[in-house]
């Protein structure tokens, strides 16, 4: 599903590479944590998978497509197969929960009728039934992140990328979000999550890939934060 082959990424003006000769493979349906201290290069992986940045060396394959060689006009269609959640939720403040999710559908050409059918369903799935018409500022952090997850999942993507999705949430809320991601993973969606939340990693007991100074130092099938 996801293949990194000897990927090296050095940001301009950086003294050392963020990712240094990293090779890793992730199968369809896996749930993978990338852990490591700040600046270890774990967020760089998400950016590479999204074709937001390009590696200096090596290849990135997502869903058996070579992302590194992808023409820029093909990127939008490619991103429709990937859902994405972030620490800061990235919701539109002037739109309700429903509108935030519907917006993601409408801008890729889905009709309002499709949105009316699909959006309540996915909001129900993430546990926001009855709160469709609240604005982000009327929702708690956990609820906002649920909206973000609903928006990421509404297209039924093959892969869900989560960049520190619990970074802004308290431990209890974090666990609820993790349950939600776990449920999504059980539908067959590959989930890749970047985090440094040791609690969560220890509870989930999923594959853990630890990165330090741009290199993989551990890759464990049912790992803990360590």
């Amino acid at each position: 599903m996801i293949q990194l082959e000897q990927v090296t990424k050095t940001y301009p003006k950086a003294s050392r590479p963020s990712l240094d000769d990293v090779s890793v493979g992730i199968e369809k349906g896996e749930f993978v944590f990338f852990i490591g201290p700040s600046g270890s290069g774990k967020s760089t992986i998400i950016k590479l998978l999204l074709h937001e940045i390009q590696p200096n060396k090596g290849r990135v394959h997502v869903n058996s497509r070579d992302v590194t060689a992808m023409r820029s006009w093909k990127v939008p269609a490619f991103r429709r197969q990937i859902g994405c959640v972030f620490q800061d939720f990235r919701l539109l403040p002037n739109r309700t929960a429903y509108e935030n999710v519907a917006f993601a559908l409408e801008v890729i050409g889905k009709t309002k009728a499709v949105a009316r059918r699909v959006v309540p369903e996915v909001l129900e799935l993430v546990g926001l039934g009855g709160k469709e018409h609240r604005y982000p500022h009327e929702l708690s952090g956990g609820e906002q992140q649920r909206v973000a997850v609903a928006r990421a999942f509404v297209n039924r993507p093959l892969i869900l990328l989560a960049d520190e999705p619990t970074g802004n949430l308290d431990p209890d809320t974090s666990i609820e979000i993790m349950r939600l991601l776990d449920r999504i993973n059980r539908t067959g969606t590959t989930v890749v999550m970047v985090t440094h939340d040791s609690n969560i990693v220890n509870q989930m007991r999923r594959r853990v890939i630890e990165i330090e100074s741009g290199r993989i130092v551990r890759d464990q099938a049912r790992g803990v934060y360590g």
């Binding site: 990127v75 994405c84 917006f103 993601a104 409408e106 801008v107 890729i108």
Partner: protein, 291 residues
């Protein structure tokens, strides 16, 4: 639905920053008016050249004491000259008649002039009006000739003046256009900034590039079109008030500018206005959004 979304985004975009929009439209209008005026002068000069060059004559004025022999030999050599298309002799009386009709409204001037005081002349039409110099070289200083006058030179002075007016209008149009384009670029940047969250989400969920860019580009196009309509109105007003109004006599002398010609400037101005602003918006977005 997508079209409706794009159009409503355009309207919201134009309203959000209405002072900037107005500034953009006004500079665009002024620039396009200048462009239209320059275009009008250009077609006008071409028309006038076609009209006048066909009627242009070289006048060879004869000495007052020219002998009939000199006159005859001159006429014969002009008629056999390969450069010459037509030679017409104008006697003192004919010159006087012309003079009378020309100055019919100033009888004092006509009274002051006697037919005898006006020179006889040969009116020569050339096959190629450009070859005036050769005629001049061949006949200047010959016995019985006083002066040789080329109407083309007079006309060219007029065309020269019109040409420099046209250049001035064009330069003004370009300077205003630069200002207009900077405003378009700035407006688009402001618009893109105020919609940065939406744009980020659209990029994230895989909205196509054209869909992300279309509202911004269309915003610039709408401003360009409004600018061109206002510019055209100014141009039409200028024709109506100046050319058909206070400058009427001058216009008739220079062959009048028809409404048809003014009207043709509208699509020209609209095309230039919308295309140039669309291109500017697009280039701005490429740098600013990196979609």
């Amino acid at each position: 639905m997508r079209m409706k979304y794009v159009l409503s985004e355009v309207m919201v975009g134009l309203w959000r920053n209405v002072t900037m929009t107005v500034a953009m439209i006004i500079t665009m209008a002024v620039s396009l008016t200048m462009l239209g005026a320059s275009g009008l002068i250009f077609t006008q000069v071409n028309d006038m050249k076609a009209y006048y060059y066909d009627k242009i004559e070289v006048s060879i004025f004869l000495d007052t004491n020219v002998t009939p022999d000199q006159k005859n030999s001159l006429e014969a050599s002009l008629k056999s000259d390969p450069l010459v298309r037509e030679v017409i002799y104008e006697s003192k009386q004919q010159a006087y008649d012309k003079f009378k009709t020309m100055y019919a409204d100033t009888p004092a001037l006509i009274d002051a002039v006697k037919p005898d005081q006006l020179p006889e002349s040969f009116r020569v039409r050339l096959k190629d009006p450009e070859k005036y110099q050769q005629i001049y070289a061949a006949y200047n200083g010959k016995d019985g000739i006083d002066t040789i006058l080329d109407q083309r030179r007079l006309l060219e002075k007029i065309f020269g003046i019109l040409g420099s007016v046209q250049t001035m209008a064009l330069v003004a149009a370009i300077i205003m256009a630069v200002a207009a384009l900077l405003l378009v670029g700035n407006t688009i940047q402001v618009a893109a900034y105020s919609k940065r969250r939406e744009v980020a989400v659209m990029k994230l969920v895989g909205a196509s590039n054209w869909f992300i860019q279309a509202p911004f580009v269309l915003e610039a196009v709408v401003a360009g079109l409004l600018g061109s309509v206002i510019g055209f109105a100014a141009l039409a007003l200028g024709k109506w008030l100046l050319l058909d109004g206070s400058l009427r006599d001058l216009t008739n002398l220079l062959t009048p500018i028809g409404w048809g010609k003014v009207l043709i400037m509208l699509p020209l101005m609209a095309a230039v206005g919308s295309l140039v602003s669309a291109a500017t918006a697009w280039v701005t977005l490429r740098f600013y959004l990196r979609v």
